[in-house]
Symmetry: C2
Subunit: 349 residues, 2 copies
């Protein structure tokens, strides 16, 4: 354990010395709209400031997507011959397809040819590739998926959003520590406050898991603010909301469902007055509103606790969502999230 920890610290230190622009590997073959959405999204992220991108996938297919303009400076293609299918069992896919785009992305990060990866492909395979190739940060029992969700004042970090369906209280405590590091980087907050998602604000409210986790978190996290309810979550009672991966995934998808439902209901009501749908001010206000509740704006989910940056996007991501996910990966790599989590766990913070 000590040897592994020391080796990992060496690797994390070494990474900082690499002399090249921050580079994100994009699984260009993953997702419902690949490779078109992945290529367009990557190019858009590049235009918006991500300095270097490696498109990972079938060279002929990717070149065809690029058109006559070809590759802009800073964007390269790393050819690979295989793809893990969206519905393929993740473990099997990774074992049988070592030259798959997802696996190659993870290897590029492991070998420091890239500083982070994103995939809108098979999310189980993306998580598996990151775990297997990059390894976990010493001290982290279970990596967790962190995602940003809309809130009244801006954004809140929610984790675990789906990596661990059954958790122990100690896992939730670790999620809180990792989530705080991510909030520092993604929200730019010095000492992020932490809440435990439960069904009442009192410490005694919750299920068996959260009641114990509440006590553990209260005993060891200075910025722990106790339980928060689903309603408080979007009212920004805290910066980081912690829950198990089953609950987090349900909450995330319910939120997406409600966002779509509300947009549809609103449009149906407005459509009863055709004149309104031609009012330019109203249309502009609605566009701004939709952007604020559009999950695509919030980019992919970041896998915390692995020794590298891995962003997992929705299978149905379009170019906008892919671009945002690449930016999330770039931001996490620039903010050195894995290294900061390693430091936090070494200090037992």
């Amino acid at each position: 354990m000590a040897a592994r920890s020391s080796r990992s610290r060496k690797r994390l230190r070494r990474r900082r010395k690499v002399d090249r622009p921050l580079t994100i590997a994009v699984d260009a073959m993953g997702g419902d709209h690949a490779p078109a959405a992945a290529v367009q999204g990557a190019l858009r992220a590049h235009e918006q400031g991500v300095p270097a991108i490696i498109l990972v996938g079938d060279k002929a297919a990717l070149t065809a997507e690029l058109g006559p303009a070809g590759l802009p400076e800073g964007v390269t293609i790393r050819h690979c011959s295989e793809v893990v299918g969206m519905d393929e069992p993740p473990g099997q896919g990774l074992r049988r397809k070592p030259d798959s785009s997802i696996n190659v992305c993870a290897l590029l990060v492991r070998d420091q040819a890239a500083d982070g990866m994103i995939s809108a492909g098979n999310s189980g395979a993306a998580m598996g590739a990151a775990l297997l190739r990059m390894g976990t940060v010493p001290g982290v029992e279970r990596p967790a998926i962190a995602t940003l969700i809309p809130s009244k004042q801006g954004r809140v970090v929610l984790l675990d959003a789906g990596a661990n369906t059954d958790c122990k209280p100690s896992h939730l405590l670790q999620f809180a520590r990792m989530g705080a590091v991510y909030a520092e980087v993604s929200l730019g907050i010095a000492r992020p406050t932490i809440g435990l998602l439960s069904i009442g604000e009192e410490d005694t409210k919750g299920n068996e898991l959260t009641k114990i986790a509440n006590r553990m978190m209260a005993a060891s996290l200075e910025t722990f603010r106790g339980n928060v309810e689903g309603k408080d979550m979007v009212n920004q009672a805290v910066d980081v909301v912690v829950c198990d991966g089953f609950v987090g995934n349900v909450v995330l998808k319910t939120g997406e469902g409600f966002a779509e439902l509300f947009a549809a209901l609103l449009k149906a009501e407005l459509a009863r007055f055709p004149r309104l749908l031609e009012d330019q001010d109203l249309l502009q206000a609605l566009r701004h509103f939709e952007r604020k509740i559009d999950y695509a704006e919030y980019g992919g989910a970041l896998l915390l606790g692995v020794r590298g940056v891995c962003v997992i996007s929705h299978g149905r991501s379009g170019p906008k969502a892919i671009a945002r996910a690449v930016e999330v990966a770039h931001e996490a790599a620039a903010g050195r999230v894995p290294e900061r989590i390693a430091a936090a766990f070494t200090q037992g913070r």
Copy 2:
């Protein structure tokens, strides 16, 4: 067990012979805005067609709320001297305050002086009073809270919305059976379809609880449609969505939070164009929209599996939400939900 079951059937049969209009007991002392909201809400429900209502609470306080017009025909007051506080431990409150409005409501239902009760007071105490005074339907291991949530086509029954924080797979199966009965009555659907809330549509996706529950439900419920995700829930993939009470309560409150958040974000965007806020057509469309996403419109939550009708409302219910909760109780009593659940469990449906 046989004796208890037979006694219960006798009581359920007897209830049908009572010769008086359907009567709902309203805990007029419960909730953040009691007694004003409870009294106004009850009167509104009466105007809207609930034939008989008993206001339960301090007679002087309730009379003061009524004003000079006094009680309309069909509405009566049942005086009681105590109130269980909103933050009082439920068990203690019920033990120490036998003449509390919540307890008296439950006794009125037990003694067939009323056909249902509603309370916006201490929800733990309301649930406890219903369990203790009315008892559970034979065969039901755990009563559950069912609530209607907005969806694309109308409404969906979600349960358990908070009665049981830690569940066994067999509990979820029972929730499904009770939820189906409630959907028949509240949604008017002959053979309601049932889904298990999980994190993927495949049977193998979920946590330890839902994976086993999925198999049990598939084996014994004809209208079971497998797992549904949070997103599918509001898209009306099924009529009844089943989950444990922790998840259900988190989902419900998250939905409420998102509804408020989206309304606030929309208003903020519209406010940038003051002209829009004076457009009568737009204002009317927004009112209709808000009504569709307003949880108050969906009334209280019905406790299923007890031998009587008990609706639990939000503590912060205003008159509109109380009126709707009284209507939900009336509808459940008229539809004989407890009797139908008893029949379903006797037939092992």
